[in-house]
């Protein structure tokens, strides 16, 4: 709020304005203090600490034992599950991202028009996303078990189990994720579709474009910002997958479904109890994530030109 009285001499008005600005800054900081405290104490400080931990010997129980760089990074990269978990995480990310984006867009196109029936459909696609990932995983844990599943007779007859082989476990877990998140991506796609002006479709129709042509030449290109956002979200989320595998497969069968975050947890709290190596792994994941996201954003941006 700047009130400059015209009757006063200009210098006084300026001083007045400077004082209001000072007051503004003070009040602004006052209201932003809780945010700043949380961000510094629970985000910035831990982030610095994890970097320090990654270059220190830091067993779970005895704490900081001094700098040992770069031992932790060497140990992290040489961990017997490191390569496997990276490969598996990338494989899972590719699969989940492709399926979720395709299905999200498909569902959005299916229920695009507003009608009572479509609203009902949207709600049913969205309900699973209200569940926590842990609850959803527990639900499918029962659903996939050879004993309790309603699909047990089918499994018996076909001689397959949902979590029995590495491939089956990957597919089953991906199905759970698709079930849980498809509605979420559908809503994001709906928002994107809503942003495409109607007259573009009108023009395409007037030019006699087919449905497929309209989709290829209009919907997809104009949806690019949404596709960029959803890809980044989905890739980030999938690279950091933990709960679904921790609960559903416990990394099995034969340690074939260990993700990178699961490896961090294992190194830190299950057996090895080495927070230093876990911190080194965390730093590697953080850097990889920043790099991958930067590359994705750049790819989407350069496509635009």
């Amino acid at each position: 709020m700047r009130v400059t009285a015209p009757s006063r001499p200009p210098s006084a008005a300026m001083r007045d304005r400077a004082r209001t600005r000072g007051r503004q800054a003070l009040l602004g900081w006052l209201y932003a203090t809780p945010t700043a405290v949380f961000v510094v104490a629970l985000f910035a400080v831990p982030l610095l600490l994890v970097i320090r931990m990654s270059v220190s010997r830091w067993p779970l129980l005895s704490g900081d034992q001094g700098v040992n760089a770069p031992d932790n990074f060497v140990k992290a990269v040489n961990h017997r599950f490191f390569t496997d978990s990276v490969v598996f995480t990338l494989k899972y990310t590719a699969l989940a991202t492709v399926l979720l984006l395709a299905l999200g867009l498909g569902l959005a196109l299916l229920v695009q028009e507003s009608s009572r029936w479509n609203n009902l459909l949207r709600a049913s696609f969205l309900i699973p996303s209200a569940l926590g990932l842990a609850s959803a995983s527990l639900l499918f844990y029962v659903l996939y078990s050879p004993y309790a599943s309603p699909l047990a007779p089918v499994m018996d007859r076909l001689g397959v189990t949902f979590l029995g082989s590495p491939t089956a476990a990957l597919i089953s877990t991906t199905f759970l994720i698709v079930w849980r998140y498809a509605g979420f991506y559908m809503v994001l796609m709906l928002v994107g579709l809503q942003g495409i002006p109607a007259d573009v479709y009108e023009a395409a129709r007037a030019d006699g474009a087919s449905r497929w042509q309209t989709f290829r030449k209009i919907t997809l290109p104009l949806l690019r910002p949404t596709l960029a956002l959803t890809t980044v979200l989905c890739v980030t989320g999938s690279l950091l997958a933990f709960e679904q595998f921790y609960i559903l497969t416990k990394g099995g069968p034969d340690n074939s479904t260990i993700t990178v975050v699961q490896l961090i947890y294992m190194v830190a709290f299950q057996g090895q109890n080495d927070l230093g190596v876990a911190a080194a792994l965390s730093v590697i994941v953080l850097l990889a994530l920043v790099l991958i996201n930067a590359l994705q954003l750049r790819a989407f941006r350069s496509e635009e030109n």
């Binding site: 932003a32 629970l42 831990p46 569940l131 842990a134 527990l138 078990s145 079930w179």
Partner: protein
Amino acid sequence: MVAVSRSRTGRGGPPPSAAAPGRPTGPKGVTIAGIALRTPYWVLSGSVGLIFLAPLLWTAVASVGPRAGTNQVDGWGFGNYETLANYQAGIWRYFANTAFVALLAVALTLLISLLGGYAFARFRFPGKNILFLVTLAILMVPYATLLIPLYVLLNQVGLENSLVGVALVLTMFQLPFSTFLMRISFEAVPRELDEAAMVDGCSTFSALWRVLLPAVKPGLITVGLFAFLTAWNDFMAPLILINDSERMTLPLAVSNLRGQVQGVVDYGATEAGVVVLALPCIVLFLLLQRHYVRGFMSGAMKG
């Protein structure tokens, strides 16, 4: 129901994807031919919808149904829920723990993002943009990367094994979304509103409390809803930060419950646990669907 409506008025015919290919728009679903043409669409889309609902419905039904190896061997009843109720410290303890974490996280998130959003939307102060960017940067950092040092830090300040510690951590993870949403909620309110209040002699705080708070209430509901769902369901933070079975949260307790009885999994009790976990979330979702969807949409708009 879901509040995403297409704003394409004055356009004939369905959008390029809809069913009933090539059908010119007549009065919808009035003629017999129209119904016949639309039936495949209803069947198809209805079965897709059913795929999404079926696992939930099945779990709810099976949790009260009979199964060998559970507490509900024959007939229908709540045997599985009894198992759940008597598990270790008792389901009520875990329910209370989870509710405590969730409500504390919601209260903190609401308070911090209300004040923070106000500061970012209405004031100019040095370091404002940096603080905002750093808050959003929380999104970029993996959960696990922060939980390992947080485990060490919380131990040092005496918050080891503490539900308060879990709530603080969950609040921090909720900040990027909630600060962003509250900032745009405040920015959507015309400045004249609070300026008029301040000309009338309100302080900035009473302008916030009396004039702006009602205007940003929808934003607050969305923020609170998301904070609740996240905190209620969170698995990884309590998994790492809590190791006392008295203080476990519900997702952790139900997950641990599986391997208890001589390595034999009690599927019935697990189903009951999933129902207890999911029910509050689904009820909240159905009540507040509009706000839920709006949260997603604001996320999409920033992209």
